[in-house]
Amino acid sequence: MAQLDEMLDQDAAIPLRADLEEHLRECEHCEITLNTTRKTIEIYRSHEIYALPDDLRERLHAAIMAKCRKC
C-alpha cells in the first residue's frame, strides 16, 4: 500500500515506478484501488463543499477589521 501511495503522489523513483506499473497491469485489485483513490482526491479537489457565501464573507470581513482596529 505504501508503494501505491508513492504512485499517488508521483513520488516513486523511476525504477520502482516501472515495477509498480508492471504489477498494476497484472493486478486488478491494485489497479482499481489506485484509480479509485486518485478519483477520490480529484473529486474532493474539484468540488467546493465548504464555500464561503459572499454575504457571510462581507460580514466576517467587517467584523475582523473592526476587531483589529480596536487592538
Binding site: 501511495d5 479509485t36 478519483k39 474532493y44 479537489r45 465548504y50 464561503l52 475582523i64 476587531k67 483589529c68
Partner: protein, 190 residues
C-alpha cells in the same frame, strides 16, 4: 492596516474551508475565521518570515479549530492525534470498480452532500491532514510543519484518510447504478 485587509481578502476562503473541515459546524467555523485573523494581526510581529505567511496563518486556524472542537465536546481533550489508532482503511476491502464517470450519477448539491457526509465520518486527525494536503494543496513537509507532526506521520495519516474516503465513497460510486441505488435506499443521501 490596509495591507492586512488585503491578506484577509486573500486567505479568508481557505481559512473558512479548513475550519469547516475540522469543526464540521458553520457557526464555529465563522468564529474560527474571526479569531484566527485577529490572532494573526496581534502576533504579526512574531511572524518570522522563515515560513510562508499562509502556512503560519493555517497553523493558527488549525489550533483555533481544535480549541472550538474541544469546547463543543464539553471540555474533552481533542487533538490531531485523536482516534488515529484505527485500523480502518489500512487495507482496502471494497474492491468494486467505480462508474467511469461517478460525478454524472448525482447532481451538484447531492454530490456535495455525499462528500460532506463522507468526510465527516473521518477522525479529526485524518480530516485535517487530508484537507491540508489534498484539498488545499500544501506539500507533505508544509503539512507536517503546520501540524507539528513528522513527515512519516503525515504520510501514514494521509494514506489512511484517502483509503477510508475511497472505501466510503464506493457505496455511492460503484460501477452501474447498483451503488447509487443501494446508498440512496440506506438513506445515505439527504
Amino acid at each position: 492596516m490596509a495591507a492586512f485587509e488585503k491578506l484577509v481578502r486573500q486567505y479568508d476562503r481557505q481559512v473558512f474551508r479548513i475550519a469547516q473541515h475540522i469543526v464540521q459546524n458553520r457557526e464555529d467555523a465563522e468564529d474560527v475565521v474571526q479569531d484566527a485573523f485577529l490572532k494573526a494581526y496581534e502576533k504579526l510581529d512574531q511572524f518570522q518570515g522563515n515560513s510562508k505567511f499562509y502556512t503560519w496563518l493555517v497553523r493558527i486556524a488549525v489550533n483555533e479549530s481544535l480549541m472550538r472542537l474541544r469546547k463543543r465536546r464539553t471540555g474533552r481533550m481533542v487533538s490531531i492525534d485523536e482516534d488515529v489508532e484505527t485500523e480502518e482503511g489500512s487495507m482496502p476491502r471494497d474492491l468494486a470498480d467505480w462508474s467511469p464517470d461517478p460525478e454524472a450519477l448525482y447532481g451538484q448539491s447531492e454530490m456535495a452532500d455525499i462528500l460532506r457526509k463522507t468526510i465527516q465520518g473521518l477522525p479529526p486527525g485524518f480530516r485535517v491532514v487530508f484537507a491540508l494536503r489534498d484539498v488545499e494543496g500544501l506539500s507533505t513537509e508544509e503539512t507536517a510543519e503546520t501540524l507539528g507532526l513528522s513527515v512519516p506521520a503525515v504520510k501514514s495519516r494521509l494514506l489512511r484518510a484517502r483509503l477510508q474516503l475511497r472505501e466510503r465513497l464506493s457505496r455511492y460510486f460503484k460501477k452501474g447504478m447498483g451503488g447509487a441505488q443501494e446508498a440512496l435506499a440506506q438513506g445515505g443521501v439527504k
